[in-house]
Symmetry: C2
DNA sequence: GCTTACGGTAAGTCATGACTTACGAAGTTG
DNA sequence: CAACTTCGTAAGTCATGACTTACCGTAAGC
């Protein structure tokens, strides 16, 4: 159920950019804002969306809040795509069979 | 490079609904519109987006156009998520090590 | 050939959401 | 405790895109 929120979150380029920075490890909001062409409040709003989607975790250190990628949040999305891929392949093969049968009957 | 378009395409609920119908196999536009709570032109527009993203293929049969999921288009998205997941896990472990070291130094 | 099914495109409306600046809360430092 | 850093939130603007209806091309059937 959460994969829908996750995929919507990752659909935004700015949020993918944030996630890409966080690939190296946790970072505070200010650092993320410096690395991106948008304002700090914009980053905060994106972090909210990503956190709500279960893709990030936060740990407070003094006044700084370190955001990090949550591997668990990604798992749901991966699973959705895997199942979709399986079904797509099955339908693809099934249709290929039907096509060849049609040809054989001609 | 195409995964960005693909994830944006799959972020829309109506488009995911279309893809879900196509899991069983190819279908013409009219059938998709009947199965969904939106108009036929809306479906056409979504099919355009999904096709441009490389997620669908079309085969014309008379006046009907059968749309089907393209397994290749999904592969890029899966690969992106797999790499992201790898990096996230690595960063997660790396950070766990630093945390324990910090604790040890106290 | 004329009508009927099928589907893509144009144009217009309306909601959503990605930004901005301004402000306030909470913690750290001198 | 006063100044400063860090960050979240409120409010407002503006662009994008998800719909609708209307229209036009194209293939099939009588």
């Amino acid at each position: 159920m959460t994969y829908e929120v996750a995929i919507a979150a990752l659909a935004d380029p700015s949020r993918r950019a944030i996630v890409d920075v966080l690939r190296r490890g946790p970072a505070p909001v200010g650092d993320l804002a410096k690395a991106l062409p948008i304002s700090r409040p914009a980053v905060s709003q994106h972090l909210r969306v990503l956190s709500d989607a279960g893709l990030l975790t936060v740990t407070q250190h003094g006044t700084r809040r370190y955001y990090a990628i949550s591997p668990e949040g990604l798992e749901e999305l991966r699973s959705y795509l895997d199942h979709l891929w399986d079904d797509a392949l099955a339908a693809f093969r099934d249709n290929a069979v039907k096509q060849s049968e049609k040809k054989a009957n001609k």
